[in-house]
Structure formats: C-alpha cells, structure tokens
Subunit: 211 residues, 2 copies
DNA sequence: ACTCCGGATAGCCGATCGGATGATGCCGGG
DNA sequence: CCCGGCATCATCCGATCGGCTATCCGGAGT
C-alpha cells in the first residue's frame, strides 16, 4: 500500500479552527499536518511547497478569494492534492460550487472527530466523501428542478432587497418597467414564490443574495 | 494576587473549536482548561462541578437553549464564573442579549490567539472585554436610534418572509387585515423601509429573522 | 440552419399595497 | 395617576403589483 502517512494541509482563516483540527488530526497515527494557511495566496504557496495528500479547505477565507476559488487554484497545481471542504454551511450553492471547483469531499465543522478522520482517509484514497446532511440535501435538490437565476435576475433581486419599486429598478437598470416586471415574473417562477418579499427571503436563503 | 492559574471551561457544540481553543489555551502557563461542554445542560453541570473562573461561551449551541440563555443559567449558579462570549457573529442583537444575560466580554472566533488570551485574563480580573469590531458596532448603534421590533411585529415579519399577503396574515394570526396593515406600517417605520421586500431584507440583515 | 434561452418591450386588469387619519383597550414605568 | 408603547380595528384612496398574452432580437448550442 502507498503512503503510510497521509500529509494534510489546513486552510482556514480562523486560528482557533486551525489549532483544533491540527490538535485532532495530529493525534492520529496515520495523519500528519504538514502545513497551514489563513488565506488563498498562502494556501497555494504552502500546498506548492509541502505537496500534501489532502487539503482541508474552509469556504469562507475572509477577504480575498474564497475557498471555492482557492480549491480551483490548488487543483491546478502540478500533482494536485485532494481537497476536502470543511466548512460551517451546507448551502446547495456552496456545495455545487465547491464540487465544481474540484473538491473531493464536503464535511461540516460540527462533524464529530471520527467522521473527520474517516473523511480524510477516504479522500486520500480518492473517494468522494459527503457529510450525510450534505448528501441528503444534494439528493433533494437533484430530484427537484434546479432553479438557476440569470445574472440579470440577480441584479433585480439586489434592487428588490433594497425595497425599490419596479419604476425605480427600471431607472436604475436603464430598461423599461415592463422588462423589470418580466424579470420579476421569471424570478417568481424559478424561486417558487409569488411575492417580492418571498423572493427576497428565498434568495437570501439560497444564498443568491448575501445579507 | 489571587489565583495563579485561571480555570477555564469551554462551551461550544463544535468539537473542532473546542479542541482548538483547548490546544491554544492549555499551552499558556497561567491558563487551565478544566472542562468542556457541548450544550446548555452539560455546561451547567460542568460549571457546577469544576467552579471555573471563566467560561468561554459559544452563542449557537445547536438544538436546546442557546448561549445567551446558558449564560444566564451559569451566572445564576453559586459563586458564578465570568462569562466570555466567543462566537462567530457580532450582531447587535446577539451582543445585547449576551451582555444582558451577564456576559463580561464578547470576542469573535476569528480573533488571533493573543487577543483571546488577553481577553480571558482580563475577564478573569473582572474587566469587560469587547472585540474592537464589537465595540465599534455598539457605539454606532448607541448613537443611532435603536429599532426594537415588538414580538407581534416579528411574527408579522416571519409571515412576510413567507410571501403571505395581508389577508392571509390576518387569517393566520386571527386578527383583522387592518391590524396587519397597522403592524406593517410600524415595522416600516422602525426598520426605515417602505416596502415588504425591503422589510424582509432588513429584518434578515439585523438578524431579526433567521434565513 | 434551426431552435432555445436570456433579455427587452408592450398593454390590460383585478387584486393588493402603502399612507394618512383616527379610535379603543390594556399594561407598565415614571 | 397619567403617559407611552403595544395591539387592535376601521375607512379611504391613489399607486403599485402580479398574472396574462405577445412580440422581437441576438447569441449559444445542436
């Protein structure tokens, strides 16, 4: 069998979380934490230097590029590591973006240590590891129609959340009021609502808008 | 000078965070982690047994009572410990509730370890320790009028976010449509908006509603 | 080449909303 | 004891919204 020690790099902007994962992971005989990074740039550098088997990636990295983008970057490196996303949220959008970026697994931070260890080992073996709640969510969404809002519609949603009326949105976007209404109708259909307030709530819930 | 070792109990539902704080705090000569708890009941039990000087309290504890309520509980114990809130969010509502519950400090989880240590020591000495961002926010809000929505108005907001019309809300709440409109008007005034969509967005932003 | 989709536009109409104004009853703090 | 906040209800009215039906254009994909 290949490597006996799985080399792990941690990417998380929270010192506390890094310390926690390091403490837990290091205590495992077959797992070594060979590096840490607090942001995207650091992550790329550290991964390039240490050539880990697995990268534990947080999705929210503070200012610069997020975890999804960083996942892309490290996956584009020569002999790229497997990326296991370890984050707080399990939004559909987050999961999809991460998987799309080349993540091999998705775990939540409230997972018990055991699950974390198993996930790291599985990921290192090339397996795809999803937290139960994430897997469930994915299946749910896969069954139901995927509501993908267009860029323009997102703009509308943004203005909507600011409480603008159709007329005001029209002025803001330099289009006619009819166009705004048209977009809104499409948004309602896609989000499965029929009021502006509901659209805003659903948009925020699905992370189409950020509060 | 009193105790040379400051006894600390951790309350957080995330194993990873507990491990992280424990690893960081334990490495300090003058700080001892004498207990951990993952939920409110456990917290009260552990604090009662270990009589710590400081409790590091997360505000979101999963299912049962939250961190604010738990803070009240441990502060009501005989010879209560100081409570230092250590959480992810710095919402005005969260801060106020925590302080009201008897918390002596408020730190964010992305704080550097140094700051955490200083906060623990300060809290143990009875000082009030606020994260800079939290302090700033408090001053801001203290200057501007505090918009406190009534319980009934929160109910209205909840239904609003579900996209219900005034008539439907009225039926749901067993009141007349006029009453609903009245509440809405008050909500608009308090939140500084003039549309339902804006109200929902602002309510979520101010954490009056949870997405 | 042809189709599908996002984006833009138009008009119609009933339902709803938001603002203004005013009134009543209850409770708790000053 | 009186005031203020909360909750309740009522009416009026102009502005807006949401649903419906149709058309047009340009780019991406088959």
């Amino acid at each position: 069998m290949g490597e006996q020690h799985i080399r792990v790099v941690l990417v998380d902007d929270h010192p506390v979380v890094r310390a926690g994962v390091r403490a837990l992971v290091s205590a495992q005989d077959d797992l070594d934490v060979v590096g840490e990074a607090a942001d995207s740039a650091e992550a790329v550098a550290v991964v390039g230097e240490t050539k880990p088997d697995v990268v534990l990636m947080d999705l929210s990295l503070g200012d610069g590029p997020g975890g999804a983008e960083t996942t892309r970057l490290v996956r584009d490196l020569p002999s790229p590591p497997q990326v296991l996303v370890l984050t707080t949220y399990d939004t559909e959008a987050d999961v999809l973006e991460a998987v799309d970026a080349g993540a091999a697994g998705y775990l939540l931070k409230d997972a018990p240590p055991d699950e974390l260890f198993r996930a790291i080992r599985g990921t290192a073996r090339g397996e795809t590891v999803l937290a139960p709640s994430v897997a469930t969510r994915l299946l749910q969404r896969a069954a139901s129609p995927a509501p993908k809002v267009s860029p323009r519609e997102v703009e509308i949603l943004r203005l909507l959340a600011r409480g603008l009326g159709n007329k005001e949105m029209a002025r803001e976007l330099l289009v006619s009021e009819a166009t705004v209404k048209s977009h809104l109708s499409h948004i309602y259909t896609k989000l499965g609502v029929d009021t502006r307030a509901g659209a805003v709530a659903t948009a925020i819930e699905r992370r189409i808008l950020r509060p």
